[in-house]
Symmetry: C2
Subunit: 137 residues, 2 copies
């Protein structure tokens, strides 16, 4: 299907924003841990459904982003869910390599707001599982 072709009904029911994007949250299907949030355009969502692998839209690169294309840390999509406003997607995924974050951690959400020395600060909690230099050679 090319960019000009009409999209199937299930994609038309999603409320993409004025930039043609919808937020997509990836959640580990087994543990329930939230791994990351990224964005999808219609093509990314369609390709995710068709391929069974998470495909996002990179706003910085302005192009489709096949998750794992550089790192090998592909996400196998087991379920796709839509919220009541039809403007947020949840993907339940199997995270290959057990690493979703470009910092080499399991999840992008590795900093927790913690009180220390009388003030609140973001504290890195989850460990780096693999040196990013080893991931992106």
């Amino acid at each position: 299907m090319n960019d000009q072709a009409p999209y199937p009904d299930w994609i038309s029911e999603v409320r993409f924003d004025d930039q043609g994007l919808v937020a997509a949250i990836a959640q580990d299907a087994h543990s329930g841990k939230i791994l990351m949030m990224a964005w999808m355009n219609r093509q990314a969502l369609l390709q995710t459904c068709q391929s069974g692998h998470a495909v996002y839209y990179s706003r910085s690169r302005q192009s489709l982003w096949h998750k794992g294309e550089s790192s090998g840390h592909t996400q196998i999509v087991e379920e796709i869910w839509l919220d009541c406003d039809a403007d947020v997607i949840v993907l339940k995924v199997k995270q290959l390599g057990g690493i979703a974050c470009h910092t080499g951690r399991q999840s992008c959400f590795f900093r927790r707001l913690t009180e220390s020395d009388g003030k609140m600060q973001w504290q890195s909690i989850d460990p780096v599982l693999k040196d990013p230099k080893e991931i992106y050679k």
Copy 2:
């Protein structure tokens, strides 16, 4: 703290978008279920931290939205996490009433993409726990 006052460092470290907003995902702290995604401005994030209850920013009403102010379905915030890009928040919450969605369901993500009669469609999976007419009297 009023709108003119400087914000604490931990809020300045969050990358709010050009509308002054950051995405916030609420996750049930006990079950791991993703309940909803909404938006926060600096005041909402600060008040969430200070009060221990989830406060969002309603883009449609353009005002702070104390979750549960109409429904009673307040979210008690147990943990606040930030992602690697510092532009998405995860709240781990205790959901009072067990209902996060305005449709009366536990989660806003109640529709799953399912193949039926040879085509993909969004199928409502999770049940309505309480009639919205009973929630918003």
